[in-house]
Symmetry: none
Subunit: 402 residues, 2 copies
């Protein structure tokens, strides 16, 4: 497969514009009554017209049978093979709740948990305390400094939180304190490489301080940490890898965080798809790659609400002329994964994809849907192959080899 090092040889920046419109969880499964998926049930005259002028196919987010989380689902669309490139769990957790991360920060995931008088963890989830209580406890722990390292703590959901360690030389090569099952004491955090004893000491001091601060607050009288990871992740930015000047228009923190992790600027997303397209128009001159994220399709799918997902797709379709009227050189409409309403969750199914450009060589597909895109000229292809194709259609790649 074509890899980043091959692309790097032939990158040829130009002012041409690429718009990648991601309808999160778009792929669906047929409704029992109609035999049609959500996308096939929706009235989408604008998407269908675009599909007719496009080259279409079924995009495989990670690989056959693999249900992607949001991070691998999007990394693939951004041009990074999700089997090769990952973002550390700690960083993902912190980005997901939009904590401010600076270069060199180290982030970890944390749980509030219950420890008994013998120092044994009896419940790694502290009875799944409500998110509000988690937030209150995080305020208690947030902002402490140990040996010059500042530690920020913020709630995720229920018993989960994220912790960010900021200080010169603080290393992410640290083991977990989380023993991963009840009935064991928390582990000391161990340095995984030599020369970082100070980082391990600071992390262990933080846990000791925390234990004191939480004393008497059963069931949440202790914390465990895991998944220490350095920000930024070891992924070349989209500018380095593809010569792009990219921007993201996404409302939800997780996607803004993912975009930022690969070097995109985040623009205001507003509250509706129309707002997102307004932002696109407003900043159109400043960037040459736009990632626009629509969350409603996924949320409706997760809730098992077939009709709401249909309506979310139709809302995108109605707003679409605002996007196409800007006449981007390349338009792609696709998804990071399937979230069939019938399935009520992410699934492994391939997702429909259309790519429009003046040079795309349209195929015979005349509707944007799962069943139509199967017959498209792109066939079934890997998400990470999309970026070279977008770049080529925007004339941003030179010839490979003599």
């Amino acid at each position: 497969m074509v890899r980043l090092e091959h692309i790097k040889e032939i990158v040829n920046p130009t002012p041409s514009k690429i718009v990648l419109l991601v309808l999160d969880g778009l792929g669906g499964l047929a409704h029992q009554k109609t035999g049609l998926t959500e996308l096939e049930s929706a009235k989408t005259p604008n998407l269908d017209r675009l599909a007719k002028e496009s080259i279409c196919g079924m995009l495989e987010p990670v690989g056959l049978g693999i249900t992607p989380g949001s991070a691998p689902g999007h990394l693939g669309l951004f041009g990074y093979d999700p089997l090769q490139y990952t973002i550390g769990r700690g960083v993902l957790a912190a980005l997901g709740i939009e904590m401010e991360l600076e270069d060199g920060d180290v982030a970890a995931r944390g749980n509030f948990c219950t420890m008994n008088g013998d120092g044994v963890i009896t419940d790694r989830r502290a009875g799944r305390i409500p998110t509000e209580q988690c937030a209150e406890l995080c305020r208690l722990l947030d902002g402490t400094s140990i040996e010059g390292v500042k530690i920020s703590v913020a709630p995720v959901r229920e018993h989960r939180f994220a912790a960010v360690f900021r200080g010169k030389g603080f290393s992410s090569a640290l083991g977990d304190s989380d023993p991963q099952r009840d009935g064991l004491p928390p582990k000391d955090i161990e340095p995984l490489v030599t020369g970082i004893a100070k980082s391990a000491r600071i992390a262990n001091k933080f846990i000791a301080q925390t234990k004191q601060a939480l004393s008497g607050r059963e069931p949440a009288n202790m914390v465990v940490l895991r998944g220490f990871a350095k920000y930024p992740p070891e992924i070349p930015s989209m500018r380095e890898a593809f010569g792009l000047k990219p921007a993201a228009i996404a409302a939800y923190p997780m996607y803004r965080g993912l975009a930022r992790a690969v070097g995109m600027d985040n623009l205001p997303a507003g509250n509706t798809v129309e707002d997102e397209f307004f932002t696109l128009a407003e900043h159109y001159k400043t960037y040459d790659f736009f990632f626009i994220h629509v969350k409603q399709t996924d949320s409706a799918g997760e809730d098992g609400d077939f009709q709401r997902k249909v309506k979310a797709i139709e809302e995108v379709d109605r707003a679409l002329p605002r996007l196409t009227s800007l006449k981007p050189d390349v338009i792609v409409v696709t998804a990071d994964h399937s979230t069939p309403a019938m399935f009520k969750g992410h699934s492994w199914h391939a997702v429909p994809c259309l790519l429009y450009s003046k040079w795309c060589r349209p195929d015979a597909v005349t509707a944007f849907s799962e069943s139509a895109c199967i017959g498209g000229a792109l066939g079934r292809f890997n998400a990470a192959e999309l970026m070279p194709l977008m770049l080529a259609n925007a004339l941003k790649l030179k010839k490979y080899g003599a």
Copy 2:
């Protein structure tokens, strides 16, 4: 993906015949008036009849979005993954102008350039001197010997030339003298590994001699060298890799050179496609694999001449019975890349491919064209997967595994 080491295990030479007919740059884009590509516009009753009896698909020369140069485009068709196997720039340049290369020769690309009195290069291209002048200067430099190494120099185009160093132990692990931009002095050629100081010294002496020889010949008063590479390239021959006895019928030096680099014998190509097929018939008994190259389709595409490309395709179609009447066990018709007349250059678009054999299991495709082949049983597949399929259909591969 199946790799050469897998194939090597199951190679099973037989006298059966494979003919690979490459219409260079065949893939096209639709004409604005008709909505048909060059191939779809051409009257091709013979190719269509063959497609009907064949298994068809869209061949991806390198990868989605990647526009191949001639070398990677052909290496893929010859069975070598062009992302894994490359031919050094110097060797390609020398092969491209049909210089005689012997095993162990080292070739480099060169530029005539302009150097000022301070030893700074003011124009790396010597004002793009005409090719005739380049040829005259090359004659001046050609044939010198330094410390037992004979150096041949031949013109490529404008300011470009190729230099071949022939002598026992001469190494290709040499840096460039070309500083890659104006305003800098040429670099000394450095050995890139230990133990080859003599090779670097000889290369630097050659440049010093050349400087003297060109004294006063402004703007071409100096040379720079780059891309030193050993012949033959580090690619197993088609005999080693596939057990084939292969021959090439190609008129243009670049393709004859590429064929030679993978161990094919070059046969006389004459002036027309018919001549090529005559040569095929004449040497049919001597070889079991024939690569036939048709350049006219690519040249017309590069010139943006839609109608001339259509006519070039029709000429191949008219001559085709001469090929099919030999009843090769396997016939493949495809291309090394697309050169759409509308695009006036190589492009990234997949190319149509048909494979005929008694055992091919024909699909529903009844015409040889881009839009028809999309629906073929091969789908979209990588160029380097074609060779195992040709070998299999010629019954030249044994079972893999017990």
